[in-house]
Symmetry: C2
Amino acid sequence: MNNQTWWKWGDPDKSFHLNSYPKLRNFLEHTWNKKLIDDFRPTFIFEKIAKETFSVNQFKDIFPNLKLNQFSNTKNERLKFALGKSYFDVIRVFTDDVVSAPDFVLSPNTEGEVYYILQQCEIHGISVITFSGGSNVTGAFNHKKQGVTCTLNLRKLNRLLEIDTVSNTATFEAGIMGPELEKLLNEKGFTLGHFPQSFEYSALGGWIATRSAGQESGLYGKIEDMVLGLTVVAPRGIITNEDYPKHASGIDIHPLFMGSEGTLGVITKAKVKISTIPKKYKWIVAIFKDFNMGTKAVQELVQAGVHPAICRLSDPMETKMLSFFSRSENTGIKKIIQDFYKKRLKSQGFGEPSILMLRFAIKNEADEAIVKMAKKIIKTFDSKLLPSNISADWESNRFSLPYLRDTLIEHRVLIDTFETVAYWKNLTPLYNSVSVALKATSNFFDKGGILFCHISHSYETGASLYFTIIAPQELDNEVAQWKKIKSVVSEAIITNNGAISHHHGVGKDHKKWYLQKLGIESRLLLQAIKAHLDPKDILNPGSLFDEVKEIKQD
Amino acid sequence: MNNQTWWKWGDPDKSFHLNSYPKLRNFLEHTWNKKLIDDFRPTFIFEKIAKETFSVNQFKDIFPNLKLNQFSNTKNERLKFALGKSYFDVIRVFTDDVVSAPDFVLSPNTEGEVYYILQQCEIHGISVITFSGGSNVTGAFNHKKQGVTCTLNLRKLNRLLEIDTVSNTATFEAGIMGPELEKLLNEKGFTLGHFPQSFEYSALGGWIATRSAGQESGLYGKIEDMVLGLTVVAPRGIITNEDYPKHASGIDIHPLFMGSEGTLGVITKAKVKISTIPKKYKWIVAIFKDFNMGTKAVQELVQAGVHPAICRLSDPMETKMLSFFSRSENTGIKKIIQDFYKKRLKSQGFGEPSILMLRFAIKNEADEAIVKMAKKIIKTFDSKLLPSNISADWESNRFSLPYLRDTLIEHRVLIDTFETVAYWKNLTPLYNSVSVALKATSNFFDKGGILFCHISHSYETGASLYFTIIAPQELDNEVAQWKKIKSVVSEAIITNNGAISHHHGVGKDHKKWYLQKLGIESRLLLQAIKAHLDPKDILNPGSLFDEVKEIKQD
């Protein structure tokens, strides 16, 4: 990767120019009445990063037990670990904004080395930021430049330690990346079933530390539902316990580390529930007259015990946008819907439909019965079933939208996502609140901003909403523009009974709203736990509930 | 209730003499070759309890904000709160063993009063034991007589605060008892689905504090799976947070209080997931040639996605015993099995069968398909389906076995249960280990001891085992006899990868084995949490991870 593309998502060969998305290009140019030009390039913030802030000799002095090849202090390397993959991360690369790179990077090979590193960092007052996949989108790696900071790169802790094909469990080191983990399980006929959009570039430990949800959480659960046991290395010691399928042997402390985002310890091992690979999948694709009707249908489905692996209900605007994300002119969702539109649906009230895509894992005849029942329920909501191959388009792109994000930024387009979760009772007001809040600011819809949303994960008690916004960038004001929108949407979410995150986490970007909702006694409790496990406050200082020596996102 | 029956389980009208269980009586008398006589009666340990250790005036001084009718210091009342409902609890009543009654009992009406009581107790160094249903079977209420101890009776905190029939959630005060909770939900067409054997005499807060499992956990989950939010009153403050169906807003602290057994705070409110009441139920009853074959079938069922509400696989000895628990001669499990036996099954290898009872909640056609699939799977394990009405016998007795326990004690019979959970891989060795361990002691099988077991709760990754033992009491050595057996079985369980409890909890009776399995760093962490929430160590001192100023069960 060269200097110009290091900030991009994923594999350069999977990235396409905006010309490869002719429908999207046309739509945006038409909407905004201007040509999109790819003239936006990262400034070389390399120059802003001091050449060397932590020397090889310092490394040798403080970490005599590590090998030199486990250490890195070059500008290039440090920059790779300085940022996650959010719009805010990327836009700062383009706008010469300040980025705090770590002073050095260490790559432990063993759990023992992790403990050793924490011990030495504690003695020498070095802050530690844990990094595995690096795909975080909430500013997890941002830090205040204060003292010396080390990034702990867990990528080498990537082994499958045990697979128990009788009990359907597997134990991995936490730095293992999604595809490698699935490959190892698939070889034995199993899957973890955790497929976040970041799947290809995220790791097990990161999923757990952020309470991640995969696209198939309807069937497999969120990552916290899959974890049976953890080993966590804290400055205070190595926390490990015997694990059981379920138990009543006192308090289960594992949940404490799920969502702890590197503040309480480094997750080094995890035992997870695994499942046999489904024989096949079946899709149901339906359209509803509006989002509200579709929402009611999804609620009825999950409350009736229908739990498709994937359940995505797009609002009318997203339904329209989905077809633009396809790289070809003549296939995809739009074409099929158009065929329906033109022939008969528009006159029947489906002029601006809301599309629902359900994917069912079929292992047996009961699963087939579930699919039938789902269709029956869906029909009662005044809907139309569409050919299920429509979903192939979504499926082939399920991990590729982050590439398009980068392409759009190069064309001076702001694109970001916001996700939340709420009880069914609160879902529609929450959904409405975001557009109302954006309307109340003069900077979004007025300037051509596009907002759309889908229900991404559904539960008996509620569902998550996943909003996307697209807008022309305000030139020379890109960072402030994003901060403003982020603030407006986040405010709307938390004041309308939504969680500040359903599956991305808190990081630094959500901290303000997270703290508004965290009860004071809970915060004091979490701080007490932190003080016990990490008394010198070296782990991701200033994160989550941690003392706010107010962190400015500069 | 008079002095002789206050120690008994439940409603005196539901208690029957051993003569009402002729099959059981005959079986035991035949096995032990002696007549069972109901000549065993509690000694009046009332006399051992000092008349008054905490006066009304002391109450008025320390708790001026409470009303006199919220206070009790009479012998009678204190004794009622001194014990749970385990064999160990009851046998001490019979044998003049020392029981530590609390010095007084307080009954708060509000969460605010709970906080007030904890504040005053902290100032005055009074220990607090939380009590709601009182059906604990692990010695939770035992305490070392040291300083002044108050029992906090939560029974008046019993209101339904909110029911959300859109999101399927309900918020209750934690002292509400099982039947009242179900009644309130049933009126709206809902159920919590939590039916432990103690259902009629246990409360929501107790279920949560002990990580309880109901008989229908296969469908509804364990109590910790149902909790969406909690309010917990600790000496340090009132812990309350906004709750969501699922989230990634940092660490979820609610799990910390599940299984905390009164050591970290008093659970005063809980928001739980509720479900619509099933339209009907279907039973499948099958027999297998042995327990191992049945175990394999249950494993295949749950791993194939079949989750019956109830799933009980009894080993051959329990299969035989089940029919003895019926009060009539000519109905019940035994009769039906016998009909099968005599006619054809014995010659086919079902001489000592293992019975499986499955209850499915039927809400829709997919549930019907699940039942069909279950039958198909079961048949592949060389089994026979029995008439499903056989289960009526079990069902009508599902909450009544504790009554029989008391009756047996009056006839000088030791009866106790042990429960554990393990991964499937470890389940058969764990099952075998208990009988092996009991064989190795000269005091159990040699003296006519009877051991039987069933799988009570099943998961994709493992299952729980529920052992029952019945033996003639060793006269004048009853407590020591129980302690010996308890120790032998518990040792076998934890050295064979079983949890010391799947759903009863730790209490004081399991503390020794719980601590053997608790990692040292976890213990230190839990102690740090305790020190923060309860700095003066007034809540259930000496429980769980707490400093062991070694508690002798005297």
